[in-house]
Amino acid sequence: MNLTQAEHLALYRQMLEIRRTEEQLAKAHQAGLIPGACHTYIGQEAIATGVCANLTAQDAVFSTHRGHGHALAKGVPPRQVMAELFGRVTGCSRGRGGSMHLFSPEVGMMGTSGIVGPCILQATGAGYSSRLMNTGAVGVAFFGDGASSNGAFHEGLNLAAIWDLPVIFVFENNMYATEVAFSYATRNTDMAERARTYGINAYSVDGNDVLAVHQAAHEGVQRARAGQGPTLLDCKTYRTRAHSEGMPSLGTYRTQEELDAWKARDPITTYRALLVSEGIAAESDFDAIDAEVGALIDESFEFAKNSPYPDPATVAEHIFSS
């Protein structure tokens, strides 16, 4: 699959937007601007970016506690993500959600969840709606290695498989669930193999290589839209910050060497180097993007910080549809 220069640069830009947003959020957390939890996506940007580049606003993304990157890649503006984490009414969930509850149905971001597991089932349901109403839309679930041990994984993959539903399961194996190693949580870390035992098409992907993710997602989405059923992407990656802001980045479970090795494989710098070495883009192209994204993030931060809080009088609205 050949991408145009603009497409390549768009991938770079999207990853950078996630990275800069997350860095800003991490700083804001330290500064006390984020009242609740904050799980950053730093190190994993290639996955959300590569997958969502294949989606339209009709396609429905469901995600989990580490969902900022998915929301941004699906088209939620950084200002709305930041404002949400700052608890402001201009946030994508109007301040009701925070880091783990990002909703923006307008762009097909159907929600992140503070509970590990449900997104797998809900994406399957979006696939069901698509098949029933013949919309051509795809349901997408992003979830971590930790979620794969959960019953929701087993039940969701099986249902999508037996009913040929248009669903993309994006398994982000960053090797740890909080501080529990995936190699401890299962005897079989090869999720592509596991998916095939459900009769699901699967690809093993380098999750730090945005082109590899993009290519695999492209095939999966095409199959899904063509009625050929679900696909799982088994993406190996690493989060380079702590599980959650405020926690130690190594903890009792990771070594400095491991962290450094993965930092050397940073998805953004390696992609930029690749595009330069292949002659697809020049340093100056990136510099322009860097400046644009930098300005966007600054502006988003100001916007979020200066946004009002929600009105407590509205606190019980929208529990029901009417």
Binding site: F62, F103, G114, L121, S129
Partner: protein
């Protein structure tokens, strides 16, 4: 007027709505060719096929989670769960997701998900097929909880459930499924939050829930011959709960008893008693009383099973005691 069973009336509601709205589909074990464990979908598979009458593996959490996602993306799932005991495996999906998504999305997503199936103690079904468990759905904001007690209400309430955009827990007591009532041919809807005055009376108010309605009405017939006049209220929906109708009745009678097959602690009777105490205290001529099923897992053996459900003797006694206060 023609008579239908509870099950047939609810099925008619489903059939009418499925004919009208192609986004409605039913999910559950045996809802396809088999027509449902309780004949809830008989004849519909032939009309609408497997995408709309969807047989499932035994994955209550899985298909409820799936239907959650479906409801968020433009379709109207009906989960036919057979026994409410089974969906305890899906409480995480129900409480953390289904009940909260409209709120968390500030009303930008809807949740038109109907869950329907059987409740109640009946026929030595034993402890894994006798639950009712509605208090927990009432406790949590975000659910409509419907407990019809006759065919007429079942049809009108089910139609309302299928037209709305909120999650509905539609609970069908096993002991009522074959009971017949008059059901008009013309379309009708019964709104949520409107209790029925099942019997008018003046000396005391009895709120009866689910299968207890009929039993209480029988007891009150017996009392009428002694000149004792009891008002019987069937709330029909437990969330929303029609407290104004109950308060009005208590204002008239001064006495209140709540009869409910399910467990007392933190049950629906507790909620009614607490609200009437708070808002109707001055109307009360006697302490509000509750008559509930015995606080124990449901045993199988018929004499044990009978011992845990409030019976006519106990109901009569409770009413007499209330009047004697």
């Amino acid at each position: 007027m023609r008579e239908l069973t509870f099950t047939a009336a609810a099925r008619e509601a489903l059939a009418e709505e499925m004919a009208r709205d192609p986004s409605i589909f039913v999910v559950g074990e045996g809802v396809g060719e088999r027509g449902g464990n309780f004949n809830t979908t008989t004849g519909l598979y032939e009309l609408y096929g497997p995408m709309r009458l969807r047989d499932t593996p035994i994955v209550e959490r899985g298909f409820i989670g799936m239907c959650t996602g479906a409801a968020m993306t433009g379709t109207r799932p009906v989960v036919d769960f057979m026994f409410v005991d089974f969906i305890l495996d899906a409480m995480g999906e129900l409480i953390n997701q289904v009940a909260k998504i409209q709120y968390m999305s500030s009303g930008r997503l809807k949740m038109p998900l109907v869950l329907r199936g059987s409740i109640g103690i009946s026929g030595a079904s034993a402890t894994h097929h006798s639950g009712s468990y509605f208090p927990m759905f009432v406790n949590i904001p975000g659910f409509r909880v419907v407990v019809p007690t006759n065919a007429y209400d079942a049809k009108g309430l089910f139609k309302t459930a299928l037209r709305g955009d909120d999650p509905v827990i539609f609970l069908e007591h096993k002991a009522l499924l074959n009971a017949k009532a008059q059901v008009p041919e013309e379309e009708y809807f019964i709104p949520f939050g409107q209790a029925a005055i099942a019997r008018e009376g003046t000396m005391a108010t009895v709120v009866a829930v689910g299968s207890m309605v009929r039993r209480v009405l029988e007891a009150c017939d017996a009392l009428a011959s002694e000149g004792i006049s009891i008002e019987v209220i069937d709330p029909r929906t437990l969330a929303p709960l029609d407290i104004p109708t109950i308060l009005q009745s208590v204002h008239k009678t001064g006495r209140l008893l709540i009869v409910d097959e399910t467990f007392a602690p933190c049950g629906i009777g507790a909620e009614i008693a607490a609200q009437v105490t708070a808002q109707g205290f001055d109307d009360l001529d006697a302490p509000i009383q509750r008559l509930n099923g015995v606080y124990t897992p449901t045993p199988y053996s018929p004499p044990l099973e009978a011992a845990v459900v409030p019976n006519t003797t106990q109901i009569l006694q409770a009413i007499r005691d209330l009047l004697a206060e």
